[in-house]
């Protein structure tokens, strides 16, 4: 019976990154701000 299961259930189950990573990306996106000055572009972070 047990043979139908993988030896590495942890590896098999991992299909989505954790909410913490997603929250970080969303916060990063909200904070990232592009500033244009003449022909130059600057990336700044707003807190």
């Amino acid at each position: 019976m047990e043979k139908i299961y993988t030896n590495y259930p942890e590896k098999a189950e991992f299909s989505k990154v954790c909410p913490k990573t997603i929250n970080f990306l969303l916060s990063f996106s909200q904070a990232l701000y592009e500033v244009e000055y003449k022909d130059l572009r600057f990336e700044t972070f707003l807190n």
Binding site: K11, F14, S15, K16, V17, L25, L26, S29, L32
Partner: protein, 193 residues
């Protein structure tokens, strides 16, 4: 029936400042991208890192306005993560990361220089025994040995402090060591660490 907004529309919304659109995009493709990365790297932490780096690149490109919408958002994101996976393996080839397994732990081979509690106890015991043996030596030899070994003085300094020549100090040190060995052998003392 739930109406699903197209990726291209969400990308457009995000570029125009709708942060919620990004959340939908990430959640929509989370499983696909995570599985893709994980199938290559087989490590949860590395997968999380590459996923994060992928979307950081996506966010920067979209905010910069340098993304050209051709209705291929997912293939584009997958291409970014694919490139990051290659970068990861290249970096690992230059600097291989060694991790222990269940059978083998790297920390059993390399350790810090500090003695463990048992070895420290043995060392303390040896130091104490040796100090007692030194006490058995004649005074002139004991004096030179203590200055040299315990006070780390040079033979020139010992000679100046004891008022004897350097050669005499060297001779006393030599006899001190010979006599110590004799005492150890005579009493069958085992000093080992």
């Amino acid at each position: 029936m739930e109406l699903q907004i197209e990726d291209s529309e969400l990308v457009r919304d995000y570029i125009s400042g709708d942060e919620k659109a990004l959340e939908i995009l990430i959640n929509r493709h989370n499983q696909r991208i995570t599985s893709f990365i994980y199938s290559k790297v087989l490590d949860r932490d590395v997968t999380e890192d590459i996923f994060q780096d992928t979307f950081i690149k996506v966010i920067k490109t979209l905010k910069r306005g340098s993304y050209s919408e051709e209705g291929k958002f997912l293939p584009w994101v997958m291409r970014i993560s694919h490139n990051l996976i290659i970068d990861h393996f290249r970096k690992n080839k230059r600097m291989p990361m060694f991790e222990g397994s269940d059978d083998f732990n790297i920390f059993s081979v390399i350790g810090d220089d500090k003695l463990n509690a048992e070895k420290q106890l043995i060392k303390d015991q040896i130091d104490t025994d040796l100090r007692e043996l030194v006490e058995e030596l004649p005074d002139d030899q004991k004096e030179v040995l203590i200055m040299r070994i315990y006070k780390d003085m040079s033979f020139k300094e010992i000679s100046e402090n004891t008022g004897v020549s350097i050669n005499t100090a060297l001779g006393r040190m030599r006899y001190a060591l010979i006599n110590l060995r004799k005492i150890i052998e005579k009493n069958n003392i085992v000093l080992t660490n």
